[in-house]
Amino acid sequence: MGIMTIDGQAIEFTDEPNVLSVIRKAGIDIPTLCYHSELSIYGACRLCTVEDDRGKTFASCSEKPRDGMIIYTNTPRLMRYRKLILELLLAAHCRDCTTCIKSGECHLQELAHRMGVHEIRFENVREIQPIDTSSHAIIRDPNKCILCGDCVRMCDNVQNINAIDFAYRGTDAQVIPAFNKKIAETDCVGCGQCRVVCPTGAISIHTNIDEVWEALADKNTKVIAQIAPAVRVAIGDNFGYAKGENVMGKLVGVLHRLGFDEVYDTSYGADLTVVEESKEFIERFTSGEKMPLFTSCCPAWVKYCENKYPEFVPNLSTCRSPQQMFGAVVREYYKDPEKNEGKKIVSVSIMPCTAKKEEILRPESYTNGKQDVDYVLTTTEIVRMIRKSGIVFDKVEIEAADVPFGIGSGSGVIFGVTGGVTEAVLRRLQQGHNRVDMESIKKSGVRGDDGIKVLTYNYNGREIKAAVVNGLANADKVLQQIKNHEAEYDFVEVMACRRGCIMGGGQPVNAGPRTRKARMKAYMIQM
């Protein structure tokens, strides 16, 4: 608690962890490349350096606010330092900005513009490194890496995977998997959270755009799309809509215009998952076998469990994820020559997630030797396709998803946010669906922002104890508790990304705390 003076303004602070947060609270967007409020403080980019009343400079991200502090954030020398730091970063950075996938959304590019870096006086002498395309989820281009360490801390602090870290030192330093392995040879689960925080194009989505364009152009194919619940509240970000606005109707219309023959809603698949998963849960709950039941909707979580806790693999639900449920239904439905009109069926899913690109390739995602879902496009990729086509998003008429798989329940839609699967299962278990019961489920503690939520629910006189977990580091904590018999649960929902699919690895970037809140709130209304 206290008051500090920032550029002459008196600013009150309470529990802000550092001077930087107080500066931002004062309405000054001080530049940073290595600071994220959800990650540990690193202090490497030095862009947030400020000056006190005695002319002493310090990085505001790693200084605690003190009462009576007087600081300046924009003196001529600070602006000179920031510009020079960015010039130095750009000098050691692959500068093919015009063709870079991140162009226009690149944080480094934006800051360089803001600070007025229009000339680079130094030559790039960094050795050219090969691009790692081994993963189906992400692509790593080390030549664009500025060593801010955001991905490293995301992979460690939040996801507890540590697939990448710093190697070598000085100007030879690099962010790479251990022993310079390919990313696919590590424990990477493909969650794509590293890509979400990467300020440059060093980590990007492994795209399948070209294959889908080809399928759309081919007259002998029928292209079927399914849209995941979390896509609809995020895609509007890129087309000028308010953060968190549900633009499903527009998106369906746009996909039809792009040439998708049928556009369906993955919520339908989620409903199927709920039916199956509830049945499986009751069977196990009654018999007491393979308890607790872990959800299996999130492929990044499934892979994490397989990698780090193989002993818990039997606890994973045997149900397919909504995407795969849907994929199988589409394949079966379109077997009928009347339905497929003699054309080849190409099944495309529009997902908020990069790990879904790996899920479709898992052995259990095949039926009779055939891959159920052909391509996964993330929200970001579909945005690129829409932009390329020139279709003006908000001018397209709102359309309803096609029948018969365009109708999903609200319980299916909430799969996109943490707690959604649990809430859907509890609703399913609750016979009758009266308002009072639905309210009591809502208030059971299933909703909210926390990384680990524990709740109990009365089911036919027996108590169901559930844990709702998001973020793999949190999942690790819960698994350790279960392993050490420190906690007992009947049902455990895990989503690899913090706050669930709405903040998935394939979603539009530049999503800060306000966007998170807006996307979550969008679901509260849904429910």
Partner: protein, 185 residues
């Protein structure tokens, strides 16, 4: 001479050791030497130290090789000011100090390297000009035989001469002259 008086004139005291140098030491080369050390010691975490010291070293290497320009001095000072004030740890914060203090106290030497392409201490090999003293040369041809680029010519028993357009300043003529007739300017 004490800690305060030395730090007042911009000297780095560190642990209290002193290094005494005379006119045979090139101050630009000393700055390059220290920058080379700190640049190698840089862990690579913060941008000012990782990228900044590398660029300062590049500039200093350019100057001692005789390829410096006057704008390099401004660039060195600009980088030094930023690195000293923004680097994360003590290594980065003090890395530019030898450069700043040598530019401050021996600016003339930097300018000689850049404008006159001369190193008054005769340390920077690229700036040395090799000459044969006709008084001392006996015309034995040993220098010419050992010159890797055939830059030395002459008649036996009369003084030899060096073609400066060919000379690569390797110094093998000095090493091989039995009469001490080869010298540098």
């Amino acid at each position: 001479m004490d800690f305060d008086s030395l730090s007042k004139i911009g000297a780095m005291i560190g642990s209290g050791g002193l290094v005494v140098m005379d006119e045979d030491t090139c101050m630009v080369e000393v700055a390059r030497f220290f920058m080379n050390f700190t640049q190698r010691e840089s862990c690579g975490k913060c941008v000012p130290c990782r990228e900044g010291t590398k660029r300062m070293l590049e500039i200093l290497e350019r100057i001692v090789a005789g390829n410096g320009e006057m704008s390099d001095l401004d660039e060195l000072e600009e980088l030094a000011d930023m690195i000293e004030n923004t680097a994360l740890c003590g290594l980065g914060k003090s890395a530019p100090k030898p450069v700043v203090s040598t530019i401050h106290a021996f600016r003339k030497e930097y300018e000689e390297h850049i404008i006159d392409k001369k190193c008054r201490a005769g340390v920077c090999s690229n700036l040395r000009v090799f000459k044969i003293d006709p008084e001392k040369c006996k015309g034995c041809s040993k220098c010419a035989k050992n010159c890797p680029v055939n830059a030395i010519t002459g008649k036996i028993k009369s003084p030899f001469t060096i073609d400066h357009s060919k000379c690569i300043k390797c110094g093998s003529c000095i090493d091989n002259c039995p009469f001490g007739a080869v010298y540098t300017e």
